[in-house]
C-alpha cells in the first residue's frame, strides 16, 4: 500500500494526517471505529456476512475519498458512519438482508448501544441492572458491594455521560 510522507505541522485529523491513504492510518481508523460500524451494519442488515461486506466497502470508499475528508466539518467516526449508511442503503436496494432497516430509529438504538458500551463498568452496570433489567437498586448495591447511594450516584453520572456520548455519535437526545 502506498505510504505518504507524514505532512509537517498539518492540523490534526485532516484526511492525509488521519492517514486514510496509508496502511497504518487505515489500521488505526479500523481499530477505533471498525467494530462500531460493524454493529451498526449488522443492526441494519441482520446478516453477519452482509455487515462484514458493508464495513469493508466503507473503508475502501474512505480510502478512495480520503482527500475529501474535512475534520473541521465532522469527526472521523461520523464521516465513516455516513459512508456505512450509504453502503447499507445500497445493500438494501440490492435486496441484501430481508429485514434491512437503516432508519433513524435503528440509528438511535445503535448509538445508545455504543454509548452504553463506553460507560465505565460500574455506571453501565447500574443503568443496565436497575433500569433495563428492573432489578431493585438495593439488590444491585449488595451485588456490587457498594451502598445504594453509590448506585444512584452511578446512575446520575451515567445519564450525564450518555447525554454527551450520544451527541458525539450524532444523535440529539
Amino acid at each position: 500500500m502506498r505510504r505518504l510522507p507524514a505532512p509537517p505541522a498539518a492540523p490534526p485529523e485532516t484526511g492525509e494526517l488521519a492517514g486514510l491513504r496509508s496502511e497504518a492510518g487505515l489500521r488505526h481508523a479500523y481499530a477505533s471505529h471498525g467494530a462500531a460500524l460493524y454493529r451498526y451494519a449488522l443492526r441494519c442488515l441482520h446478516d453477519t456476512a452482509a455487515a462484514e461486506d458493508a464495513v469493508a466497502e466503507t473503508f475502501v470508499h474512505a480510502w478512495r475519498a480520503a482527500e475529501r475528508y474535512d475534520p473541521h466539518q465532522t469527526g472521523l467516526r461520523m464521516w465513516l458512519l455516513a459512508i456505512t449508511r450509504h453502503v447499507v442503503i445500497d445493500a438494501v436496494r440490492r435486496g441484501v438482508g430481508p429485514l434491512a432497516d437503516p432508519s433513524e430509529t435503528v440509528e438511535r438504538q445503535w448509538a445508545m448501544g455504543e454509548a452504553l458500551r463506553r460507560l465505565p463498568a460500574a455506571q453501565r452496570a447500574a443503568v443496565v441492572e436497575t433500569f433495563l433489567r428492573g432489578r431493585p437498586a438495593a439488590e444491585v448495591a449488595t451485588e456490587q458491594q457498594v451502598s445504594i447511594g453509590a448506585v444512584r450516584e452511578h446512575l446520575f453520572y451515567a445519564l450525564r455521560s450518555l447525554n454527551v456520548l450520544l451527541r458525539e455519535l450524532g444523535v440529539e437526545p
Binding site: 455487515a51 475502501v60 450520544l166 437526545p173
Partner: protein, 245 residues
C-alpha cells in the same frame, strides 16, 4: 451535613429521579427541591430526554463481545490493493492516450506548417509495375485472450444449482471464476478458500439470482500453490458446492 453536601446528595439522586426509581417520599422531596433550584432543574432538563432512548434498549442486545471477525482487516487490505492495481492501469492508459494525442498533434502541426516539405506523392502502382500480387496485409492478431484458467472439479450439494469454477494463479494470489445458476435469489453466498494448514480465507461473496446466471471473479491473498480447496456457503452457512484445488 453542610448545605453544599446536602445539595450534592440530592443532585446525585436526579438520575434515579428521572428514571422513576425513587420511592414516593424521596420523589416528592426531590421534586420539591428541583422546583426551587435552577441548577437541578437544568440537570433534569438535560437528563430527561435520554430516558426514552434508553428505555428502547433491550438488555440482551448489549452483547459486548459482538465484534467483527479477525479476517475483516485482511479483506479490506485486499480490496484496496485491487483498487490500487485498477488505478495504476487507468493511470497508464491515460498516460498512453495523452502521449498519443501529443504525437498526433505534433505530426499534424508539422504537416500543416511545412507543405513544401511534404514528399511528392508516391507513384501509383500499376498492374504492370507489380506483376506479383501484393502480399495481403497481415490480419490484426486478436487481442490475446485472458487466461481462461484451470477448470476445477466441483461437487454440488444443491440440486437446483449448476456451476463451473476455474482457478487462475497470479503472483498476488489465486483467482476463482465462478459461473453458475440456481442460486437462491437475493441470498448471500460466501466463498472460502482453504489453505494447507487447514485455515481458510474469504475469497468474497455474491448474491444469488435464482434461475439467472451468476458470473463472478473472486480473489484471494493465497497463492495458487497453497490453496487446497474451496467451498461456497449459502444461507445458514450450508455448503452449496465445493471442490479440490
Amino acid at each position: 451535613m453542610s448545605s453544599t453536601d446536602a445539595h450534592r446528595v440530592l443532585r446525585e439522586r436526579l438520575g434515579a429521579y428521572v428514571l422513576g426509581q425513587l420511592d414516593p417520599d424521596s420523589e416528592a422531596r426531590i421534586s420539591h427541591h428541583v422546583a426551587g433550584c435552577d441548577a437541578c432543574q437544568a440537570e433534569v432538563t438535560a437528563l430527561a430526554p435520554v430516558v426514552p432512548l434508553l428505555a428502547a434498549v433491550h438488555p440482551d442486545e448489549l452483547d459486548e463481545t459482538l465484534q467483527p471477525p479477525d479476517t475483516l482487516p485482511g479483506v479490506i487490505r485486499r480490496r484496496i490493493a485491487a483498487e490500487q492495481r485498477r488505478a495504476q492501469w487507468v493511470w497508464l492508459l491515460r498516460a498512453l492516450a495523452a502521449a498519443a494525442v501529443v504525437v498526433l498533434a505534433f505530426s499534424l502541426g508539422y504537416a500543416v506548417r511545412s507543405p513544401a516539405a511534404a514528399p511528392p506523392p508516391a507513384p501509383q502502382p500499376t498492374p504492370s509495375a507489380s506483376p506479383t500480387p501484393s502480399p495481403k496485409a497481415p490480419k490484426a492478431s486478436p487481442t490475446p485472450a485472458r487466461p481462461s484458467g484451470e477448470p476445477l472439479t466441483v461437487q454440488i450439494n444443491d440440486p437446483a444449482v449448476t456451476a463451473k469454477v476455474r482457478v487462475i494463479g497470479h503472483r498476488w494470489g489465486a483467482e476463482l471464476r465462478l459461473e453458475g445458476a440456481g442460486f437462491q435469489s437475493g441470498a448471500v453466498y460466501l466463498v472460502r478458500v482453504y489453505v494447507q494448514n487447514g485455515s481458510w480465507i474469504t475469497a468474497g461473496s455474491f448474491v444469488g439470482a435464482g434461475s439467472g446466471k451468476v458470473r463472478c471473479v473472486l480473489t484471494t491473498g493465497v497463492r495458487r500453490s497453497a490453496a487446497v480447496s474451496f467451498t461456497v456457503l449459502g444461507p445458514g452457512e450450508v455448503t452449496v458446492l465445493s471442490g479440490q484445488m
